[in-house]
Symmetry: C2
Subunit: 269 residues, 2 copies
DNA sequence: CAACAGTGGTTCAATATATGAACCGATCGG
DNA sequence: CCGATCGGTTCATATATTGAACCACTGTTG
């Protein structure tokens, strides 16, 4: 692995829950030598990807990210478009809505929105969604490029008892998703979370990402699932439209069978 | 220079005006070998800092930046706080307002806001503000840590005929800024731009950044300068307050002498 | 107070890693 | 069909990265 990659892998260790990290702790988190980590941090600091809290000497993410993110958003204005749909989705379902994008062979978190309705909420604090264990990942397998299957099978960690780990199980999940138009994960990534996901497409006409609702398992019911699906269809159409894509006909057909009235009424403009 | 730094320096080459760059062009822009650049891009792509347009094979900034920027903004929520003040400042002055932050020994662009009032506007498209040639930089020299002077003198490129390049000239500019409470740069970075800048402070009590107004030179006048200064004082107070800092008394005194009525009336809460 | 465990940061020899000239196949325009 | 350009690859060279040991400092604890 290149030293560049190693240095860049330090950055996702900073999270909202752990925004400042000292040198020693960062070494432990990254599992690397102190000198190595220090040199990497120096390089990251010289380019403003991290900065040091002058009081505590701990490192935190730097100002360069703000500027680059704004350029990225101008280049590919997906986040802004998704966020409006997410807010509505969270409001309509009372659960946490989020959007992930496919980059290479990885589903990457783009934005999420929690509903304030309940005191218990699902917090999306991962940046990469495992393909085999999350609803977004299953949607990617079902509607994305075939090569994702190899990527998924290369890493089938069992997060819970319900995590599918065999190729047969994964193919069944993907097949279900293609038939229904929704990726689903029931307690397969975390024991308390059940998620449903719909694919989103961009101007290339290809699978670009997924919009999902992650519900606290104790609140989950067939009624809630049905409501989530109804609103996911709207959200997927909205985001797909704003990303310059269209919903493939076979997907509209699948949706029409699951939620006939809604799908029939709201045809994409 | 470390290869990590070299790879990271590729990222600022992507701008809103040039959002996608092919391998060869990127080599020319970075002034580096093709293999080197290619390997760096591979590392950046594997960590989602860039991605490839699947159609053109050109590279663009990647989705990881969005996530990291949101964590940065949660960690140090400066951008959101500054933007409200910038919008008002742009509105009040009819010119382009921007905020830069000090990270290490560099003034880094955080946010900017153009006024729609005039067809000619100053566009802030640089990410690093030269300490010796910009109003923000002069403010940093005047109100920031002393070590910035060495950093400024280490790189005194003459951007225009008016760029101060000698230590004596720089010290005079900084002295002026301390006396008046404003950093100023009159056509010293670009021939058509005159800027005035006020320092901003954070919870450490130290200089944290600068808020500036960059005016098209042909519109500049003493009346405009006076109006800009009045509104800069408000903006600096507002941003400083939201960043958890306070305006030092000596600065309030300097401002009170320049704009006596305004400074006397609006004392910081 | 003194020993200790923790921190951030530095040194230097060993070597793993980055580098760049040359090359390849594909594509484009004349 | 040619030359120019593109993205990407190969391989010997040599440069930049690495990690054990070390240093100075700080806060804790018996």
């Amino acid at each position: 692995m290149s030293s560049v990659s190693k240095a860049l892998e330090l950055l996702p260790l900073f999270t909202a829950a752990r925004p400042e990290i000292g040198l020693s702790q960062l070494c432990r988190l990254a599992g690397r030598d102190k000198t190595t980590t220090y040199r990497h941090l120096q390089a990251l600091e010289s380019t403003f990807f991290v900065e040091q809290n002058p009081l505590t000497k701990a490192y935190r993410l730097g100002p360069a990210l703000m500027h680059l993110a704004s350029v990225r958003e101008i280049t590919v204005p997906r986040k802004a478009a998704a966020q409006a749909a997410l807010a509505r989705l969270a409001e309509q379902t009372g659960e946490t809505a989020h959007v992930s994008v496919l980059s290479g062979e990885t589903m990457y978190s783009l934005a999420s929105c929690e509903s304030p309705r309940h005191a218990t909420r699902v917090i999306i604090d991962i940046t990469v969604f495992p393909l085999h264990a999350t609803a977004s990942g299953i949607a990617a397998l079902a509607f994305g490029p075939d090569r994702l299957f190899d990527a998924a099978l290369a890493n089938t960690q069992a997060f819970t008892e319900a995590t599918p780990v065999t190729e047969a199980a994964l193919r069944r999940f993907a097949q279900d998703a293609r038939a229904t138009g929704f990726g689903q994960s029931h307690k397969s990534y975390e024991d308390d979370v059940q998620s449903i996901s719909a694919p989103v497409f961009d101007q290339t006409g290809l699978f670009a990402g997924a919009v999902s609702v992650a519900a606290v398992a104790s609140r989950f019911s067939t009624q809630l699932a049905s409501r989530i699906m109804t609103h996911l269809i709207e959200a997927s159409r909205q985001i797909t439209r704003s990303w310059g894509g269209t919903i493939p006909p076979h997907l509209e057909n699948a949706w029409a069978q699951i939620v006939p009235d809604k799908a029939a009424v709201e045809t994409p403009s």
